[in-house]
Symmetry: C2
Subunit: 433 residues, 2 copies
């Protein structure tokens, strides 16, 4: 016997689930289109090479769905969209008009243990702007993220925007603390996971790396101290003056000027992907029940150049549907979502042909009509309409067919009237707005 | 160096391609929702067993993308949606209110040689109604298909709706011509491909099967003759009286009564899938340049029952995006599709902060604004806006920033005015409708 379960870590979307997803995606689309972004898409299968080039190695080796096709090609089900969009921009590097503003809401697959907020299949809004070298790109993308949360009805205390600089992180570990390349990489990976580890575990791992790289143990103490700094102004002076921090402060001032008050410096923000080159940012839920990253992104100026064309300045972010839905649920922000069907038209007796004509007339006027000609008991049929959350029922029996009228019942209060088709459709459409 | 090509047989959707797809999908969604259908979705990966159970064997063996995941499960990238939707209905067999009307527009993958109208990845509208045993289900689904073509602007002479009955086909070859099970299956598969074969090749293959099954060669002649019949009335009398044809005629009369005049009996219509149990139908492009099946479906009452629950009466169809787009292009039915962005806002000098405020105000009023603060030459920036097909440009320089106005240029005729933000947004929105 076949299983009724979907594939592990993936979701079936029954109509009531799909309606919620559609509501979420409609909000996302409307906000990014306000900023002039255009939707694109690409195949869910890509060459595996695309991810080997610049994603974190962990993702390709352990977390990617990949296989060899019948033609001997190594292919992957896309785990992220950034390599695909970079490939597409590279394919039209000369023809495009910059800045090019693009977005997509692809489904992505990662092979990992399903858990709260992390599934094997999820959808992710990807927003990218190509061709802006100035911080105006970062300002715009963070502003879009902020607009998205506000449009969903969130208040600024319900989410925090965290920013950091990969240039600063590189300077800090390579130049300031003098770690060699390998050790710096290990420390960065460790800091990336620091909020998931117990403090004692984090600190002992850090001390191990420092010892391995033959540096004095005081370096580990200094790193631990500096990671606790919450404000750029409180960083020690020689670090404080680095140009990457000047840029970061300028960005934060810019955001303050346009009314974004919940943006904070976070020295521990690393972002998992290796391709980021400068400023990185994330949005976190501030609710202690759901302390997750909901959106993350940054500048990755090098990726398009991997396809043998001139590189192009790029800033982008991704926002996942699973974490977004958790956020909306946690804060009670999901509205009641109406069904698309307006009327359940019940055919009594042998009047299917007349009823079909009435249904066609209603549809022409913009009313969505589901016809039931099953001949079941009326009580059962009304239960069906209620179960489907359809607001109106129309009855058509012998009387209605002969006098060319219909009986309209509003299910909210069982108010029932005999009407012409045109006046019924007016009531239904008025009620919809 | 990484390739800029998408995976073989799959498409990148640049924004201008995606807009066309979105237009098509919006039409499809609006029509099926008029009939009370609700959207659902399911994962793109499914257990391979799902397809082994009831799809044509060719599809599973030769055409399915499948692999073994890291947990040892045999999985497939879905080649069709019918098994998934059957699984989902089975999963809520008791809770659902029938008739349940569901639709989806999934992407599907088949491993085959890419050719005109057939790609490895395509999207397919799937429309299914569960729980209607009467022909009202077939009437409704064919009516929906017809509404879709009419809503795209097609006239009834541009497409033909063909119907046949699998019960009739089974009766014809098993009972009337007395072929054994294996030979009948071979003949049905051959007839399914008959319009792709030369007549002489088709007839010789048929004669071979008849000879193999130890029937007289006159049976082959009779089959060839009967396959030429275009009208139920002209079938030989003993065949003509079979109950499956009575049902088929009743359906065709019903369709005629609701104004569908381009529906024809086609004895050679078989549909590839093994799961159909009764009436089958397809829509064909009548243009000789593009004689393809655009939509196909039928009744498959048995599939939900394979999941260990009570079977449920089901009629469904699929309509692919690649063949639909070919149809719309062949008949010149694709309208000019406007871009979503209304204004290209050009920032002159050091006025990014003021310009950001103007952009925010415009967005609040429903205007979609792309900001350009690149500082490039104005001529180049206007070229960019034209390339992106954005209808308006707004200029904000020192003058505008100091007197709190903007300069609005309509690119269609280069009409330019200095305005308040509110009057500019009014003109832009009026122009949009």
């Amino acid at each position: 016997m076949l299983s009724i379960q979907p594939y592990k870590g993936a979701r079936d979307f029954y109509p009531e689930d799909k309606r919620i997803q559609k509501y979420m995606f409609n909000v996302l689309r409307s906000v990014v289109e306000q900023y002039g972004y255009e939707e694109y898409d690409s195949p869910v299968l890509e060459s595996l090479d695309l991810y080997k080039a610049k994603s974190g190695q962990e993702i390709v080796n352990e977390q990617t769905y990949n296989f060899v096709d019948r033609g001997g090609r190594s292919v992957a089900i896309r785990p992220e969209m950034t390599p695909s969009v970079s490939r597409m921009v590279a394919g039209r590097r000369q023809e495009l008009a910059y800045p090019a503003r693009w977005y997509s809401i692809p489904n992505l697959w990662r092979y990992e243990r399903p858990q709260k907020g992390r599934l094997r299949e999820h959808w992710q809004l990807n927003v990218d702007v190509f061709g802006i070298e100035s911080e105006h790109a970062e300002v715009e993308l963070i502003q879009i993220a902020d607009s998205i949360f506000r449009t969903f009805g969130a208040s600024p205390d319900q989410y925090a925007i965290k920013v950091n600089s990969r240039k600063f992180v590189d300077y800090l570990f390579h130049d300031f603390f003098k770690l060699n390349k390998e050790s710096a990489h290990k420390v960065i990976k460790l800091v990336d996971r620091m909020h998931k580890l117990e403090t004692i575990k984090f600190e002992s791992s850090l001390r191990e790396i420092i010892a391995e790289s033959k540096l004095e143990s005081v370096v580990a103490d200094e790193i631990i101290t500096i990671l606790k700094v919450k404000n750029i102004e409180y960083l020690p002076l020689p670090v404080r003056a680095h140009e990457s921090l000047i840029s970061l402060e300028s960005l934060m001032n810019h955001l303050k000027n346009i009314g974004i008050t919940n943006c904070f410096f976070d020295i521990s923000l690393m972002r998992g992907f290796d391709y980021y080159t400068d400023i990185v940012f994330e949005v976190f839920d501030t609710n202690p029940e759901n302390k997750r990253s909901i959106m993350g992104g940054g500048r990755y100026d090098g990726l398009v150049g991997l396809f043998g064309v001139n590189p192009v300045a790029t800033v982008g972010f991704g926002l996942g549907d699973v974490v977004l839905l958790d956020f909306l649920n946690t804060h009670g922000l999901l509205p009641k979502i109406e069904v698309e069907t307006d009327v359940y038209l019940i055919v009594l007796g042998n009047n299917f042909t007349y009823a079909s004509g009435v249904a066609s007339d209603l549809r022409k006027q913009g009313v969505n009509v589901a016809v039931d000609s099953s001949g079941k008991k009326v009580g059962q049929l009304i239960k069906n309409a209620l179960k489907k959350k359809i607001p109106y029922v129309i009855f058509i029996g012998d009387n209605e067919a002969s006098n060319k009228k219909i009986v309209l019942r509003r299910l909210a209060d069982n108010h029932e009237t005999e009407e012409e088709v045109s006046s019924a459709s007016k009531e239904i459409l008025d009620n919809k707005q």
